[in-house]
Symmetry: C2
Subunit: 331 residues, 2 copies
């Protein structure tokens, strides 16, 4: 039987994807489960469905998320997003005014992606009770940056490489949880945004010195790092003292007992680079809107398959991934 | 407020699409609302979400439909389908065994499209009551047949052109309704299939003599023909005596009081061609599996914006489109 855990970034979800999807379709571009497929003709192709609740939250809404989510996935696969499809499943009785607000938000988000346009779509209506308001799906096509200029893959990572993140960590997850629990107070807004500016500036500065990148959505930064080291001869050590957390996200995380490292971001890049370009990329990111708190958070080492945390007072511990997704329906 | 009618192929759906979608996104390839967008680089891009109930029906299931539906839309936009995304929204508690059967069906359907592969995807799980079992979305990329060999557009249609259909009409809609109402008896199965063989044989025989094609899904053959003549200086006269209806579909339609002309197909092509190639295309179709009952069903005339029916005894009447979609959730 399918459980909520199967939809998460954790072990149950991985098992489902391996057993049901990769066993059937895993021979081609799907094999490595990238955020987007790289296809002949320098195309990148990616899709996501969005079932987030609440639909409107501080820092964004389902419409903005549906555009940024797929556009960011295309960047993370080394492409520049150009064409987007938009498919809607709407519950009977859904507010027309709310639909209009969501589509306005889609439009605004598309306009913030310089070369992106919506070119095709679909609308389905299901009876009351057969959906929760509205679900969106976007699929996107991008143009792959030529491999001579950007060559991504876990196989290229080696000890000594730097681990970068393009801003504060975990705010999207905390903004959604705060909205659900009606927690106001310190205020935390989702980091939901298009990371194209961060992507292209890093490519310009780092080029082939960039080894790997991913947007830390479901499972957060911790989940992505665990995936990166899984089965590989290298590990990652994070420096806890420099992890960029906002005060608002910290407060919500503490109130709810959640590890921010595993809380989703929707406007961040985790990047692994040759150390020679690490400083230049972080410095450039800090000049761009939305990535002012970019940081080098860790280093690749030779401890195969392990992510470790070095604490502020020098102690080291193994990072433990939560068994299941902590937060359902956050995207 | 959104009603079930907004999801149909009828007037309410058209109003929603024009008011909410085209007003915001209608400047580019979306303007003519084709089944698929034609993009630079000879790409065709299309998407559909699938919310059909029941999920398994005579002649197919939601998995087969999700593959054929998008693959067919790519053909109808003049492309040859190559890459598919598969996104699932699954309700908590959904049967794992049933998921496996649906994915087996997806796999089988993909294998029946010679050059198609699934290259990317997404899985979301929503809580019990937030979906009805499983919804699928597919988006597909195809390669456009060069315009020198295939030039499609309503603008090219003129009086004297022949209207063809690649097989019996309305079976998908009737199979779904029969399954819902537990009507067995004469038996009617969905026509759900990939129409790539019919598409490519017609292109080989007709080339630029093919003016327009569409798969008559929501709204059926009648709905598509009405859309074709809308606002144009030509009309279409159908010959009622040659409309290919199967005995099974006729029986269900009569029992339920439904006009088969507006019942959905999921494995048919409606094509408008120069009369010089009509016979060759129909003859070829009749040799192919699934299109044995292909027929020339009408002729384009000068009665702008009208679809008329010529009866078996010579009388003529105007075809009247149903106000709303007759059948919700048939795809």
């Amino acid at each position: 039987m399918i459980t909520m855990a199967h939809g998460g970034g954790g072990k149950a979800g991985n098992e489902l994807i391996h057993r049901e999807i990769l066993s059937r379709f895993g021979k081609g571009p799907l094999a490595e489960l990238p955020d987007g497929a790289t296809l002949p003709g320098n195309l990148v192709f990616s899709t996501d469905s969005f079932v987030i609740t609440p639909r409107f939250f501080p820092g964004g809404d389902i419409g903005k998320l549906a555009v940024c989510g797929t556009a960011n996935d295309i960047c993370m696969a080394g492409g520049w997003p150009q064409y987007l499809s938009l498919s809607m499943i709407i519950e009977e009785g859904f507010s027309r005014e709310e639909l209009g607000r969501i589509l306005d938000s889609v439009k605004k988000a598309v306009e913030q992606c310089p070369d992106l346009q919506i070119v095709t779509g679909d609308t389905k209506v299901v009876p009351r009770g057969a959906a929760d308001g509205i679900y969106l799906n976007t699929a996107g096509i991008g143009t792959r940056i030529p491999v001579e200029r950007l060559d991504l893959g876990r196989r290229r990572i080696q000890a000594g490489d730097a681990v970068l993140v393009s801003g504060t960590v975990g705010e999207h997850g905390m903004a959604i949880l705060a909205a659900r629990h009606g927690i106001g107070g310190p205020g935390v807004a989702s980091d939901c945004m298009f990371v194209g500016g961060q992507f292209s500036s890093a490519v310009a500065l780092g080029g082939v010195n960039i080894k790997f990148m991913r947007d830390p959505t479901r499972g957060g930064v911790g989940g992505i790092l665990q995936e990166i080291v899984e089965g590989m001869p290298f590990g990652i050590e994070l420096d806890e003292s420099v992890l960029p957390f906002s005060a608002g996200a910290r407060t919500v995380a503490n109130m709810l007992g959640i590890d921010l490292l595993f809380s989703a971001c929707e406007g961040r890049i985790v990047m692994i680079v040759d150390p020679q370009c690490a400083e230049a990329v972080v410095d450039e990111w800090r000049k761009l809107a939305g990535s002012e708190n970019a940081a080098r958070i860790g280093t690749v080492n030779t401890e195969g398959g392990k992510v470790t945390l070095r604490g502020e007072y020098g102690g080291r511990r193994l990072m433990i991934q939560p068994e299941n997704d902590q937060l359902p329906r956050i995207c």
